[in-house]
C-alpha cells in the first residue's frame, strides 16, 4: 500500500497545531509563552493555506502565507516591545497580574 499524503492529513495536522496553540493561550500564564502559542496558531493557518495551494494548484495561498509571515514578523517586533515595556513597569510578565482595567 503506497501511502500518499492527502489534503486531509495536512489539514488534520494544521487543526491539531491550531488546537495546541489555543490550548497554550488558555492555559499558560506567561505572556511570552502565550505569544509563542499565538505564533503557533498563525503557522497552523499557514500550513493549511500551503496545503490548499498545493492541492488546488493555486498560487494565491502561498502569496497569503508570505503576507502572514511578514505581518507576524512585524507583530512580533511590536508585541515583544510591549512585553518588555510591561516587564519594566511590573517586574513580571504573568497575565494574572495584568488586571488593572478590570471592574
Amino acid at each position: 500500500m503506497t501511502s500518499t499524503i492527502t489534503l486531509n492529513d495536512y489539514l488534520i495536522v494544521s487543526g491539531l497545531l491550531f488546537a495546541l496553540g489555543i490550548a497554550g493561550i488558555i492555559i499558560r500564564r506567561n505572556a511570552l509563552v502565550i505569544y509563542m502559542a499565538l505564533e503557533m496558531n498563525l503557522n497552523a493557518a499557514n500550513l493549511a493555506l500551503i496545503a490548499f495551494s498545493k492541492f488546488n494548484k493555486l498560487v494565491e495561498g502561498q502569496i497569503l502565507v508570505f503576507f502572514i509571515i511578514a505581518i507576524a514578523a512585524a507583530e512580533v517586533a511590536v508585541g515583544l516591545a510591549i512585553i518588555v515595556a510591561l516587564y519594566r513597569r511590573k517586574q513580571s510578565v504573568s497575565v494574572d497580574e495584568l488586571t488593572t482595567m478590570r471592574l
Partner: protein, 629 residues
C-alpha cells in the same frame, strides 16, 4: 406724491390713478409706521406729523373715491395679483374691493381716525412713548383699512389678526402698568378664541367651494347644494370671529378691560376700527349667512342679548370710560342683531353713525380725564359744565345722538334697527327697546353726574380747564358729523335695499322717540341734583344691583373655568409630561441603558485566559455551526 401717481397712468381722471390711490391709501399708514419706528423715534413732532399726514392722505383719497362713486357712479376695482399658489387647488390673491360697502367703511375709518389722530396730539402730549404711540396708531389704521378692502377670506383673516396685534400693542401701551399689560393680553387671547372659530369656518367653506374669493364664493354658493347643517355651521363659525372682535356675549369680557389703553385708543377701538371690523365682516359676507335660518337666528339672539345685557351693566359702572365701553357693547349688539334679522344695510348705517358719536363720547371723556389729571371716577367729577363748555356741549350732542333723540344721527340708524326687529321678531324688539331706554338712562346718569351738580373734589375741580384746540377741534368736527350723520338718508339706499322707516305707523315711530326721552327723564329725576348718588336705584333693584355691579360675574365665571377646567387639563398634561414622558420615556431609557451597562461590565474579568477561552469557544461554535449545518 402726485408726480409719482401720474407716472403710472396718463388717464388720471378715471384711469389708473384711482387704482393706485387704493393702494396708496392702504399702504401709507404702514409706511408711516415703518418710518417712525426706523428713523424718527427721537423726533416726536416728526413722528406725529408722519402718522397724521398718512391718515389724512388716506382720508382724502377715500373721500375722492367715495365721491366719484356716489356722484358719478364710477367704481374702480384694481386687478388682484396672485399672491400665493399651492399645488393646483389653492390660489390666494391679494385683491381690493371697492364697492359701496367698502367705500363707506373706508370713509368712516379714515375720517373718524383722522379726528382721533389729531386729538391724540393733545392727549398724549409729554408722554415718553409718544412716537411709539403714533407708530402703533398707524399700524392699527393700516390693519383696519386692510380688512375693509380685502377681497378674499385669507386676506381678511390676515388683516384681522393684524388688528388683533395692533390692539394688543395699543391697549397695553402703558405696559409698565400691570393692569394695562393684563388687559392687552386679555383682549388678544379672548379675540383669538373667536378667530379660531373663524378660521375653521373659512377652511370648512373652502373644503366645499375650493376658493377664498368673495365674488366667486357668492356666485358659487347656490350651486354648491350645501346641506342646511353645513351652511349653519359655516355661518356660526365665521360669526365666531365677529363675536370675538365685536365683543359679543360671551366673548365681550375683553372690551371693558381695554379701557386701560390711552383714551384715543379706546375711541379708535370702539368707534371706527376693531369692534366695527366684526360687524363689517358680517355685512361683507352677509350672502353667506342669509341662506341659513339657524345661523341668522343665532346671530340675532346673540346681538339682542348683548345689547340688553351690556346696557344693564352700564347703569352700575363708576368709571367714565367703562360706562362708554358697555354702551359700545350694547350698540354693537344692535348692529349684530340687525345683521341677524337680515338687515346688513341697517347694521352698516348704525355702525357709521355710531362711529361718529361714540368716537366723540370717548374723546370728550378723554378731555375730561386730562383736565382732571387722569381721574376717571365719575363720583369725583361734577359741575364741569361751566369749566369745560366745548367738551360739555359736544359730549351732550353725542349723548343725545347715542340715545336716539331726533334729529341727531343716532335716531335714524337706531330707529331702522328697531323697526327691523319689530317686523321680524317681537321678543327681540322688546329687548331692543328696553336697551334703548337703558341707553338714555345711563348716558343721562353720566352727563348729570359729570357735568351737573356741584363738584365733589374741589382740588380737582379748581385745576380743571378746557382742553387745547387740537383736542376741541376734533370734538367739534365729530359733533357736526354726529348731528348730520343720519340726514343723508341715501346712505342706506347707497348700500342696497331701501330702508323701512316710512312704511310704519306714526304711532310706532312716535313711541320710539319717547323711549329715550323717558330714559333721560328717569335719569334726571335721580341724578340731576347737587349731590346725586346711586342709592335710590340700589334700593329699588336690591339683589339685582349686586349682579349688575359685578357684570353678571362673567369674569368670575371665566376665572373659575380657567382655574378648574383649564387648570385640570394643564395638570393632566403636566403629569403626563413629567411622569410618563420625562420619567418613563426619557428617564427610563437612561436608567435602562445604565443598568444594562452595569450588568455587562461584570463580564470583564481581566483574565486573559478567560477571554481566550470564550473566544476559542465562540470561534469553535461558529465553525461548527457553519460546517455542520
Amino acid at each position: 406724491m402726485n408726480h409719482l401717481i401720474y407716472m403710472y397712468g396718463t388717464d388720471w381722471g378715471m384711469g389708473r390713478f384711482p387704482i393706485c390711490s387704493v393702494w396708496i391709501l392702504l399702504f401709507t399708514p404702514l409706511v408711516a409706521t415703518a418710518l417712525i419706528t426706523l428713523f424718527t423715534k427721537e423726533h416726536k413732532g416728526l413722528s406725529a406729523a408722519l402718522s397724521i399726514g398718512a391718515i389724512l392722505l388716506s382720508f382724502a383719497l377715500s373721500l375722492r373715491l367715495f365721491l366719484l362713486f356716489a356722484l358719478k357712479g364710477i367704481q374702480h376695482e384694481p386687478h388682484p395679483f396672485q399672491w400665493l399658489v399651492i399645488g393646483n387647488s389653492v390660489r390666494i390673491e391679494f385683491g381690493m374691493t371697492t364697492d359701496a360697502l367698502a367705500l363707506l367703511m373706508l370713509l368712516v375709518v379714515t375720517g373718524v381716525g383722522s379726528a382721533i389722530h389729531i386729538y391724540s396730539l393733545g392727549y398724549m402730549k409729554g408722554d415718553p412713548g409718544f412716537s411709539r404711540f403714533f407708530a402703533c396708531m398707524s399700524l392699527f389704521t393700516f390693519s383696519m383699512l386692510g380688512i375693509v378692502i380685502s377681497s378674499n377670506f385669507i386676506q381678511i383673516f390676515i388683516f384681522w389678526e393684524l388688528v388683533g396685534l395692533s390692539s394688543y400693542l395699543l391697549i397695553g401701551y402703558w405696559f409698565e402698568k400691570p393692569s394695562a399689560a393684563e388687559a392687552g393680553k386679555k383682549a388678544f387671547l379672548t379675540t383669538r378664541i373667536g378667530d379660531v372659530g373663524m378660521m375653521l369656518g373659512i377652511l370648512l367653506l373652502w373644503s366645499h367651494a375650493h376658493t377664498f374669493e368673495f365674488t366667486e364664493l357668492k356666485a358659487k354658493l347656490p350651486s354648491l347644494d350645501l346641506s342646511i347643517g353645513t351652511l349653519a355651521l359655516i355661518g356660526a363659525l365665521i360669526f365666531m370671529g365677529a363675536v370675538g372682535k365685536s365683543a359679543q356675549v360671551p366673548l365681550h369680557v375683553w372690551l371693558p378691560d381695554a379701557m386701560e389703553g390711552p383714551t384715543p385708543v379706546s375711541a379708535l377701538i370702539h368707534a371706527a376700527t376693531m369692534v366695527a371690523a366684526g360687524v363689517y365682516m358680517l355685512c361683507r359676507v352677509s350672502w353667506l349667512i342669509l341662506p341659513s335660518e339657524t345661523a341668522m337666528w343665532l346671530i340675532a339672539w346673540i346681538g339682542g342679548i348683548t345689547a340688553l345685557m351690556a346696557a344693564t351693566i352700564a347703569i352700575a359702572q363708576n368709571d367714565i370710560k367703562r360706562i362708554l365701553a358697555y354702551s359700545t357693547l350694547s350698540q354693537l349688539g344692535y348692529m349684530v342683531m340687525a345683521v341677524g334679522l337680515g338687515g346688513p344695510t341697517q347694521a352698516m348705517f348704525h355702525l357709521t353713525t355710531h362711529a361718529f358719536f361714540k368716537a366723540l363720547l370717548f374723546l370728550g371723556a378723554g378731555s375730561v380725564i386730562i383736565a382732571l389729571h387722569h381721574e376717571q371716577d365719575i363720583w369725583k367729577m361734577g359741575g364741569l359744565r361751566k369749566k369745560m363748555p366745548i367738551t360739555f356741549w359736544t359730549f351732550l350732542i353725542a349723548t343725545l345722538a347715542l340715545a336716539g333723540v331726533p334729529p341727531l344721527s343716532g335716531f335714524y340708524s337706531k330707529d331702522e334697527i328697531l323697526l327691523l326687529a319689530y317686523e321680524h321678531n317681537q321678543v327681540l324688539f322688546v329687548m331692543a327697546v328696553a336697551a334703548a331706554f337703558l341707553t338714555a338712562y345711563y348716558m343721562g346718569r353720566e352727563v348729570f353726574v359729570v357735568f351737573f351738580g356741584k363738584s365733589r373734589d374741589h382740588h380737582l375741580y379748581d385745576h380743571a380747564h378746557e382742553s387745547p384746540w387740537v383736542m376741541t377741534l376734533p370734538l367739534m368736527f365729530l359733533a357736526l358729523l354726529s348731528i348730520i350723520g343720519g340726514w343723508y338718508s341715501k346712505v342706506p339706499d347707497f348700500l342696497g335695499p331701501p330702508h323701512l322707516a316710512e312704511h310704519h305707523s306714526l304711532l310706532l315711530t312716535g313711541g320710539l322717540i319717547l323711549v329715550p326721552l323717558f330714559g333721560f327723564l328717569v335719569a334726571a329725576k335721580i341724578y340731576w341734583k347737587t349731590d346725586p348718588s346711586d342709592a335710590p336705584v340700589k334700593a329699588a333693584l336690591g339683589k339685582l344691583w349686586t349682579w349688575i355691579e359685578n357684570k353678571y360675574y362673567f369674569d368670575e365665571l371665566y376665572a373659575w373655568i380657567i382655574k378648574y377646567v383649564q387648570g385640570t387639563i394643564a395638570t393632566i398634561c403636566d403629569v403626563f409630561d413629567r411622569w410618563i414622558l420625562q420619567r418613563l420615556g426619557i428617564g427610563g431609557l437612561s436608567v435602562g441603558t445604565g443598568l444594562i451597562g452595569r450588568t455587562v461590565r461584570l463580564l470583564q474579568t481581566g483574565s486573559i485566559s478567560g477571554y481566550a477561552f470564550f473566544f476559542g469557544l465562540g470561534a469553535t461554535l461558529i465553525i461548527y455551526y457553519v460546517v455542520v449545518r
